[in-house]
Symmetry: C2
Subunit: 613 residues, 2 copies
């Protein structure tokens, strides 16, 4: 702890307010009042409490700070400017195209581990960081600043529950209870007691403070890490605090001040404002650096051609195989580990496995937190339950987070459980994530080899696994580059190219046999890489079959494999016909459903016949 | 209340257990142990407490029952069979293709208001039903049976918070605390005190009971409706209760008993089992029937050609216009009402507006609840924040719920707030919902007319509105049928068909003018109906322009308008080229971003030139 001069911190807080007002007024938009309410807390954290290397925001043992209320971005930018990381003049480029000082923080900035701005997501990321500190025996702490309005998001309570369960006393949440939401007062206004009881019931130690009293802020911060519980500091604040004519008034959310208003506000704040530059910030401890070194290679596979293994089970096997060689790999699941087979990893590496219980949003947030600390997290559940976390996944895309999501139980081929359990929209969802990779293996070898690619590739990757057992069709040394595709059947006489993946690949191969007996030969392609698509392979094959393609997928037709192929290749004159699940499916036996919804070999045969017979 | 014979109810509970065991064993899959833990509670509710007409599950004033733990479906089916609604023999068709007794309940069954099975969703729907009872002055109560495992879902706490806030004392949650999740013990096992403190802190009255003690269950149920708070009954139960060799044992989640095991279990239960058929069930009260009659027509529009109105604002205006004529219309928002313009409806009809605060999952659940009671709910927020509720929307699709979602602030044209606030994946998401309708108006007239279509069309509908003001280009009496498209420019000399919607339509029209000066004429189509797509109109136009189409959308390329057009028309030999947001965008001025990401008139002009110039 440095020698804290509370008067200086109060002055810095006002300087941060001035920066926030000036930069948003220069931009003509933004949320200055949301910055002002939190300015004292942020000043106290950055200039009187947190231990970090201000010249190296990525330093492995820095205390972490997540601005969950991302719309207070100007305050965050101001704090880092005042640490000396970059010139304060840069703050006036806020929200300009070409500046990384965007409307909400993204990791384009060295000091933002994750993008924030979609509310309620910071605490889950913080849980991941705090769990990672424990795993790596590092003494950094994780601080998450939330707004009161975002505490209405269930994701906050998923995170709070897990933090309480795992007794993360290295995690500190600060709620900026400024009473006012965007369009009206929040549900609980300045009733801090509501938040206090909630966090307590979720296993947290709580402190209620005046969020504009720097002494009080520092006093409760001095007691972080005590006991076995995570700590939440409930800070009673005023929106627009420090600006006499705006403070605590409705109608000021997300509004920049006019130039005149800004001048008046700054004139009020200026007399006590003080620069933070030159403040001595305590250094992090010199804990041993964790080993996050990738291995030179992974152990070989040992599958036998023809043996039947569900791709979901190969995922579990692969997770152990990769985990043995690669210390960065950690796993998470949402109480489905005996279905996704991630329990294999738990048995082998209990310390590197996080049971997240049935809370998929938080699971993705926790995975994102691990990824920011150098880990390669694999988070698994039923594919369709990732829809629960679409916003978290979307923001992971904006964060370019290095997370690996594995969704099992896809399509009608899961059978009797019915549509609520069937992944039928997961390809559409995952393709629509910025920078994502979407992989869909058909056999065990492909599954495990794609997992190696997922580890190597930095970014959000999704692996779609299936419930039924399928035969191994690839040799153990086959390569499956991201963006590739495999031509499994091809001849000069082919009339049409069938593009399939997962269970439909086997149906396509059966159909090819049947059609051959009828005198029609077809090309069959395994589109294991849906995004990026193996477009060159498919295009080349299609051009040899009169530009005729038939896609077959255990997924709805919208946004899936068929749309991917058509969307990329129709401009080249490729004609794409689709077989997919064109209606809301029912319960039934897997093979019955695959037939009923037109994905089986007979349906493919019939469709090909209608097109080129 | 009927003359309760607790011994009979205990017997019925065992009969429900026997049905659940027999039907899952016949199916070879399912969750009998999750049925057994809740059997006493369900027997007490159905045969000793709830007021409903067992011959008419849809009766307007029946008490509502939602099985949030949808995997206990066999128990629900058994309860209704024992009311006499259908022959008990039908229970043995569980999970068979052709039976509506699916693995998890869906509204294909008259007694299931909504699909359940994706956990944590029932309580939000219940909040909507309870709010609707209050709005309609109906005395029915809403009962929601939850599992303990699903209480890890944040959506449960979003719903709990809103129920507490609105003091819904006509809402009763029962948590079946059977201790065991799918893959291990839940986070809190049989520690009911954790749940008690949580619900209390969220504004609920709580009761802890032995969930296998019928007298105790009935006693706490007799006190429903007391006070001003919603009531949660925390029922300590055992998974597999009543089966001596399975009760409270791990490893029995989601497993049917073998025939031998089932015979043993049934032999244990049989002696005390009793049929519920013939039980006198109390009738609902005869409250006045609410007026949910659609009007013959809606008032006319009064826009002037050329005036500029943001489609998001036209939505607010339209909501009031429709709401004045149609008593079924209610509105919900998630603290964005001053941005989405739903606040116009709040001002006019405060009783018919529900502020859901920043909790989008719950907002969709509440909307679904309203829709089951004959209302037409419009729920609005920023389009991208609906990603938060994708699972709820997905399940609304399975439920064929009649909900209307309105997402504003789409695409890079929102400007400075940056990617976390931009709807860039909402079309992909909403297209992938079973049976959904996706609409994307460009001007105020189209917006309001499409809203009329949304009200008339039964099912999940999504309206995509934009932030910038756009000129009115349609006459007030123009018709916009779902599945249509408008040809705005067309001549015999056209070289290419541009398909656009929203703000890109205006860019396309500008590009058409520029290109005409260069001697190239193009067809321009307004694809206001993205799903179902106006495919016939687009195909016909494309065939007149050498099968060349260019789509332009303020959305990522995956799963959006371009994929929709390519996916539907490439089989007819239409070549679809795409302009879309091909990279993670930044903050900047709207017009700068529209240009930077290649969606403005200059980009369209240049692309058309490269294709046909």
């Amino acid at each position: 702890m440095n020698d804290i001069d509370t008067e200086s911190i109060k002055g810095i807080a006002n300087q941060l307010r001035i920066h926030s007002i000036a930069s948003t007024t220069a931009a003509g938009s933004g949320h200055p009042t949301s910055c002002c309410s939190a300015a004292d807390v942020v000043a106290a954290l950055f200039f009187g409490h947190m231990r970090f290397n201000p010249k190296d925001p990525h330093y492995y043992n820095n205390d972490r700070f997540i601005l969950s209320k991302g719309h207070a971005a100007p305050l965050l930018y101001a704090a880092w400017a005042e640490t000396g990381l970059f010139p304060v003049e840069d703050l006036l480029k806020l929200r300009q195209l070409g500046s990384d000082h965007e409307g909400h923080p993204t990791p384009r900035l060295s000091f933002a581990d994750v993008a924030t701005g979609s509310l309620g997501q910071g605490l889950g990321v913080g849980v991941g960081m705090a769990l990672c500190a424990r795993l790596d025996s590092l003494s950094y702490r994780t601080y998450v600043l939330l707004g009161d309005g975002e505490c209405a998001e269930g994701s906050v309570w998923e995170a709070a529950s897990l933090a309480g369960y795992y007794k993360l006393n290295n995690l500190i949440a600060i709620v900026d209870v400024n009473r006012l939401g965007q369009s009206q007062e929040t549900a609980f206004g300045h009733n801090l007691d509501v938040y206090k009881k909630r966090f307590e019931s979720f296993g947290w130690r709580t402190e209620e403070i005046d969020g504009h009293d720097v002494e009080e802020i520092l006093e409760v911060l001095a007691a972080v890490g005590l006991g076995e519980q995570p700590l939440v500091i409930l800070a009673k604040t005023y929106k627009g605090a420090g600006i006499s004519f705006i403070q605590d008034k409705e109608g000021w959310h997300g509004k920049a001040l006019s130039k005149d208003e800004a001048a008046r506000a700054i004139a009020e704040l200026q007399p006590s404002a003080k620069s933070g530059i030159g403040t001595s910030i305590p250094a992090p401890e010199a804990d041993p650096v964790p080993n996050n070194t990738p291995p030179a290679s992974y152990p070989p596979l040992g599958y036998k051609l023809g043996e039947t293994v569900a791709t979901r089970e190969a995922f579990g096997t692969g997770l152990v195989r990769l985990g043995e060689a690669d210390p960065r790999i950690v796993a998470l699941d949402g109480d489905t580990k005996n279905s996704t087979y991630s329990d294999k990893f738990l048995k082998k590496f209990p310390n590197r496995f996080t049971e997240c219980f049935i809370a998929e949003q938080n699971m993705v947030g926790v995975a994102t937190g691990f990824s920011t600390r150098g880990k390669v997290p694999f988070a698994s559940t039923f594919a369709t339950f990732f829809t629960r976390a679409f916003d978290q996944i979307r923001v992971a895309g904006i964060s370019t987070a290095n997370i690996k999501l594995v969704g099992s139980h896809v399509g009608v081929s899961i059978g009797e459980d019915g549509p609520s359990q069937m992944g039928l929209e997961d390809i559409a969802m995952m393709r629509a994530v910025a920078g994502s990779v979407v992989l869909y293996p058909s056999d065990a070898v492909c599954t495990e080899k794609l997992m190696e690619q997922m580890v190597t590739h930095r970014g959000v990757c999704f692996l779609r696994t299936s419930r039924p057992k399928t035969p191994v069709i690839y040799n153990n040394d086959e390569a499956f580059p991201i963006g590739g595709a495999k031509v499994l059947r091809q001849s000069d006489q082919d009339k049409l190219t069938v593009v399939a993946a997962g269970i439909t690949l086997y149906e396509a191969l059966k159909a090819a046999d049947t059609l051959k007996e009828k005198g029609i030969s077809i090309t069959v392609i395994d589109a294991y890489s849906v995004k990026p698509l193996g477009a060159d392979v498919i295009r080349a094959a299609a051009q040899k079959t009169n530009n005729q393609v038939l896609t077959v997928e255990d997924h709805y037709p919208e946004g899936g494999l068929g749309d991917a192929v058509a969307g990329e290749l129709s401009s080249a004159g490729i004609k794409v016909h689709k077989l997919a699940v064109f209606e809301l499916p029912r319960s039934g036996k897997p093979e019955e459903l695959v037939a009923r919804y037109g994905l089986d070999a007979a349906s493919i045969t019939s469709k090909v016949w209608s097109l080129v017979g």
